[in-house]
């Protein structure tokens, strides 16, 4: 038995992403560095041997998932779980939280111009956001932030994959918005795919 095989077995048996630290628990001979190296070798081998699955990074964790081109075949089976698709209201709210976290409900509603309490509850139920603390000021409002489940749901490795995080609204103030936003969209299209090789 090689360390690579042990790691492969661990990933195979798991239905959720495993962090290198968690994988390393499988054997005393493993540590985070050896796990990362082994994951890289596994990925290469799966590519070479044209397996229908690959090791993907979701947040800090790794999981064996099927390649996207097989989705149409799998979706014929009711037993294949399908996560919910989010509404526009939910996506807008998540976008605001992802950039401005920790952020309270009032601030989110100021940006969206509409009541958001029920959306927040739904996102919390799906564990896409969580309460990260309480703000200053009247009533010490609850503050929300995104979770690991958020990264998993969108196939992100980290929040850095979100388009142009730095103060875009302010930068836009003196420019035509369409021009400014276009590169943002392009950049995100590539970064959002879980097929991106895990960064060791």
């Amino acid at each position: 038995m090689t360390p690579d095989q042990i790691i492969e077995a661990t990933l195979f048996a798991s239905q959720t992403p495993l962090t290198p630290v968690e994988i390393a628990r499988a054997d005393e001979g493993l540590d985070v560095v050896t796990v990362r190296d082994a994951l890289q070798r596994l990925r290469e081998r799966y590519d070479e041997q044209e397996h229908a699955f690959q090791v993907y990074q979701l947040g800090d964790g790794y999981q064996v998932l099927t390649r996207p081109e097989f989705a149409p075949y799998l979706e014929r089976f009711d037993s294949v779980p399908r996560p919910p698709t989010l509404s526009r209201a939910a996506l807008e709210t998540l976008a605001i939280i992802a950039y401005r976290q920790p952020i309270g409900r009032i601030e989110i509603e100021e940006i969206r111009g509409v009541a958001t309490a029920s959306v927040l509850r739904t996102l919390q139920d799906w564990e896409l956001i969580e309460i990260t603390g309480r703000g200053e000021g009247l009533g010490r409002p609850l503050l929300y932030g995104t979770t690991d489940e958020f990264l998993d749901h969108f196939g992100f490795q980290s929040l850095a994959e979100l388009p142009e995080p730095d103060e875009l609204p302010v930068a836009l103030r003196n420019t035509i918005p369409q021009m400014e936003l276009e590169p943002v969209e392009n950049g995100a299209g590539n970064g959002a795919s879980p097929e991106t090789a895990p960064s060791p």
Partner: protein
């Protein structure tokens, strides 16, 4: 302001978005749509035009919105009107005016538009992620119907219930104090009837009242008179009608009984009332 195309107002009346307030996330979404659809420079929004259009759209669809959502649209409409008013105020010099009254609105719109763009990016990422499947996870065999409140009522069940419904609705009743009827009164009534006719239907003795105490009194009266052989009771079959016939001891005329007799057209009720006053 001068860059406003003249075609806008007429276009507004025919645009289908007028009737679809529901599909907008909120007032900012609607405002952005109006601006985008008409290629308006967001840094030089023709407030007067946009305000008019915005109000026309919400006038059209606001009745179908919940109160809270309607309030959100009205709030922004008020903001637009306020900005419009500020722009109309005469300014004596540039200093006094300060920042463009539209600046805050533009900032909000740009900020919101940015997050709308991010939401689109997230939506694409979500769709891509959904095409990756984890290790085959087959749900455990469904437990004998741990149904989550599924509706089991069929259309027929519903119709049946609907048809039955009127019968359960109690008819409006007028309740008046009930006068207690006595066995003696019923005996008098039977006697009078039997003087006029050979036979009498038992149910006639209480038909006008539909009161249990009348049935009981009538029955006791019959049994009493049957014992005295003033009448006999006949019933052809079980649960059939009970007939009262004159018995071997003929109904003797008494003063009490004969008094109301000449007026044969009187109803039982009136007869009994007469008996009561005499008694």
């Amino acid at each position: 302001m001068s860059a406003v195309p003249n075609r806008l107002p007429s276009q507004l009346r025919t645009e289908p978005f007028v009737v679809e307030l529901d599909r907008f996330q909120g007032p900012l979404d609607l405002l952005l749509h109006l601006i985008r659809a008409q290629d308006i420079d967001i840094f030089d929004i023709p407030i007067s035009q946009i305000t008019k259009q915005f109000q026309a759209v919400i006038d059209e669809g606001i009745d179908r919105l919940e109160l809270d959502r309607a309030g959100e649209f009205l709030e922004l409409a008020a903001t637009l009107v306020r900005i419009k008013a500020q722009l109309l105020l005469p300014r004596h010099d540039e200093e006094e005016w300060g920042e463009d009254p539209r600046a805050e609105l533009v900032r909000r719109l740009l900020e919101y538009e940015f997050f709308q763009e991010v939401a689109r990016v997230l939506s694409d990422a979500e769709a891509e992620r959904r095409r990756h499947h984890g290790k085959g996870y087959v749900e455990p065999r469904p437990q004998p119907v741990a149904v989550r409140g599924e509706l089991t009522t069929t259309r027929e069940d519903f119709l049946e219930a609907a048809i039955e419904l009127p019968e359960h609705v109690p008819e409006p009743t007028h309740l008046a104090p009930i006068r207690v009827v006595t066995v003696e009164e019923k005996i008098s009534a039977i006697r009078r009837h039997l003087r006029r006719a050979e036979r009498l239907l038992f149910s006639r003795l209480f038909r006008s009242w539909q009161e249990r105490q009348h049935v009981v009194a009538a029955l006791l009266a019959c049994l009493e008179l049957a014992k005295q052989q003033v009448l006999r009771l006949e019933q052809v079959k079980r649960f059939g009608s009970i007939w009262i016939f004159a018995g071997e001891n003929p109904v003797e005329s008494t003063q009490n009984d004969t008094a109301p007799d000449p007026d044969a057209a009187k109803t039982e009720g009136e007869e009994l009332a007469a008996v009561e006053t005499e008694a």
